[in-house]
Symmetry: C2
Subunit: 258 residues, 2 copies
């Protein structure tokens, strides 16, 4: 079975793309077959994996029902890690898809042939910083939400919004099986009280769902995308690479090695 | 005359809210009368100024033409600094406003009575991390765009999108007078090459529009919102407070002291 995970948080700059790219790379390194779907018109995950953005090469026509997602799958420099890229025009899909029937289910329906082939163990979807049509499609298609939370005060403010939304998608029947895969604390700075306070508050709010692995703030992580590489390729032995490998280990352990 | 400035960048977490709150406070400190409009459903600027979010207290009814913006103006703890707050339901305005006539001009038309009174020298609008209806309304109502750019690689990717958008709003007649107020480099870390490389690239792209004042990364800036205070109140003599005071000085100097 292919597991579909949406990486989402409407707060901006919390590490969604960084987590999607690096967790995907670490899962592939551990032998899992991974497809990363870039669902953000900023296309940061696309460039973070060293792939050029090309006009028309995104899920846009797939969401309109005019193309099969398999036509857009690209291989990357990393074994077992494929990508469906994005580009700036994907933003236009929000308005067009909103007018279609079952506009929340466009992605989940489009992915069916790909899921039937079971060519991947995991599909990770990088979402934009909003709760618009693209993120809603990802959450409707997903088995679970992986939510990065930055160790900053403003990042705490939106937590209940995501919880309510997951509940609504379950209760409305849009995605009855949607669960929380886990909460990843990012840009943790052990030198500041703020980081520790935020972690404590998130643990109180989400308890068990919070991964024990904390991703530390580190300049090597933020340098890697400028080389189009995940951290385990750019600087395999830095603290950031170790942390994301550790996250992948914990992610799999929680799924009984899945 | 009241100058309306939209603080926008579709990239998330680049310091839009932090810049709107702190620049507003510094302009008020220098004797200007400032209204901060929180146009983001996350309502970070609202809590950053220590104001409680209340259901129904946002621009939502104003954008639908059902209320006057002056009904939503609150005073803050700071002399000469008022706020129109936001709350989570503001996100729903995107879909409802999209169906209305002149849906891009709802804010610019609604602000007319407030602008006619000229009770403020500046109106600063904090925008969400997207180019949806709320941000488009802010850009259509604004005289100019103030764009914070984080000193990070991913932040470089979206620059041309904003430039094209400004051009489109001018050319289409939606806002012929829209200009670029300035580009603020945020979270600058002088210890890293990455920060310096990003600043160089932005200077090549935007030249003169880039403020000389660089806002350094500092934990005190990110702690201040948890106390509901701008940095000049929370820690008046830290490097972050000095940098935002310097930015306010440069902002006014470029406007010939305006
Ligand atoms: N652990 C880390 N240490 C240092 N920098 C980091 C770390 N994680 C992410 N970053 C940097 O912080 C910035 C924000 O991260 P990223 O772009 O992944 O967030 P996002 O949630 O995807 O943003 P958006 O909301 O715009 O999609 C990026 O420039 C990234 O390189
Ligand atoms: N100069 C700085 N030094 C340290 N931290 C900062 C600085 N500027 C902003 N921050 C912190 O970085 C995070 C992102 O900043 P902020 O929320 O202002 O960005 P934003 O662009 O408004 O985000 P969004 O896209 O979600 O609206 C916040 O937690 C903020 O406290
Ligand atoms: Mg991202
Ligand atoms: Mg903000």
């Amino acid at each position: 079975k292919t597991h579909v995970i949406a990486v989402a948080n409407q707060k901006g700059g919390v590490g969604k793309t960084t987590t999607t790219v690096n967790l995907s790379a670490c899962l592939a390194e551990r032998g899992r077959r991974v497809l990363l779907i870039d669902m953000d018109a900023q296309a940061n995950a696309t460039s973070g994996l060293g792939i050029d953005k090309q006009e028309g090469r995104s899920l846009y026509p797939v969401l309109l029902g005019e193309a099969d997602p398999r036509e857009f799958v690209l291989s990357t420099a990393h074994k077992r890690l494929d990508l469906i890229p994005a580009e700036v025009n994907l933003a236009g899909a929000e308005i067009e898809v909103a007018r279609l029937d079952r506009y929340l289910h466009r992605l989940s329906e489009a992915l069916q042939p790909l899921l039937a082939e079971a060519g991947y163990d995991y599909i990770l979807i990088d979402c934009p910083p909003s709760l618009g049509i693209l993120t809603m499609n990802a959450l409707t298609a997903a088995d679970a939400l992986l939510m990065p939370i930055q160790c900053e005060y403003y990042a705490l403010e939106g937590l209940s919004v995501m919880s309510k939304l997951i509940q609504q998608l379950r209760d409305s029947g849009a995605n009855p099986g949607l669960g929380i895969e886990g909460i990843v604390m990012t840009m943790y700075d052990m030198r500041t009280n703020l980081s520790q306070q935020v972690v404590q508050q998130v643990l109180q709010h989400f308890g068990e769902s919070v991964y024990e692995t904390l991703i530390p703030r580190g300049v090597r992580i933020s340098e890697a995308p400028s080389h189009g590489q995940p951290i385990i390729t750019y600087d395999p032995h830095c603290t950031g690479a170790t942390a994301y490998r550790e996250l992948a280990r914990e992610f799999l352990a929680r799924r009984n090695g899945g």
